[in-house]
């Protein structure tokens, strides 16, 4: 099995966000919101860190 770096980020962020959403909030609506927030933070943070490393290199 092979994954691209970005697809690995997406899969990792998705499953982690599901667990975080369920365990860190009490109500179903807040679970979904927190999972979505966590997913965006993970993916966005990775993209931001990637661009930061690119800028440092160049």
């Amino acid at each position: 099995m092979t994954l691209t770096h970005f697809s690995a980020v997406l899969i990792f962020s998705f499953f982690t966000a599901v667990v975080f959403g369920i365990t860190q909030r009490s109500e179903p609506r807040m679970m979904v919101r927190f999972a979505a927030f966590t997913f965006v933070i993970f993916v966005g943070g990775t993209i931001a860190a990637s661009w930061l490393m690119w800028l440092i290199k160049h």
């Binding site: 690995a8 899969i11 990792f12 499953f15 982690t16 599901v18 667990v19 365990t23 009490s26 109500e27």
Partner: protein, 137 residues
């Protein structure tokens, strides 16, 4: 008088055993703690998420850590892997994750399995909190 004192103690003993059972079950099988508390949807989502992360880690040819290592990072990774409960035991019995890590994606697989173990510990503690009443619902 002694009869009155024993009854609450027995009740407390019965109720205090459930959180421990839930905690251990949740550690051994992802989502099992929530299943015992009849949280079927949450348990199913946790089971799918954690098992999928572990299986993807294996499919990416990630490393499964063993306890007989001396480096601190290896010990920490082993503790993370151990969080997977029976999944870790099955992987060890089947001899999975023993190939040397050569590709970047294989290193991702290693991290997938470690994080799956840590997430499983979080979910088991969450089930324990539900059982003790520390978490509302």
């Amino acid at each position: 008088m002694p009869t009155n004192a024993q009854a609450p103690a027995r009740t407390a003993g019965q109720s205090s055993s459930l959180p421990v059972i839930v905690l251990i079950a949740g550690w051994l099988v992802p989502g099992a703690g929530h299943f015992l508390l009849k949280k079927w949807i949450r348990g199913t989502l946790l089971f799918i998420s954690i098992v999928a992360m572990f299986c993807i880690g294996i499919a990416l040819k990630g490393k499964v850590y063993t306890p007989n290592t001396s480096e601190l990072l290896d010990v920490l990774n082993f503790v993370g892997d151990l969080g997977n409960g029976l999944l870790y035991l099955i992987a060890r019995v089947l001899g999975l994750g023993t190939a040397p890590v050569e590709l970047a994606t294989a290193d991702y697989g290693t991290k997938f399995m470690v994080v799956a173990g840590l997430l499983n510990i979080i979910s088991a503690v969450d089930a324990h909190s539900l059982a003790t009443g520390r978490k509302n619902s």
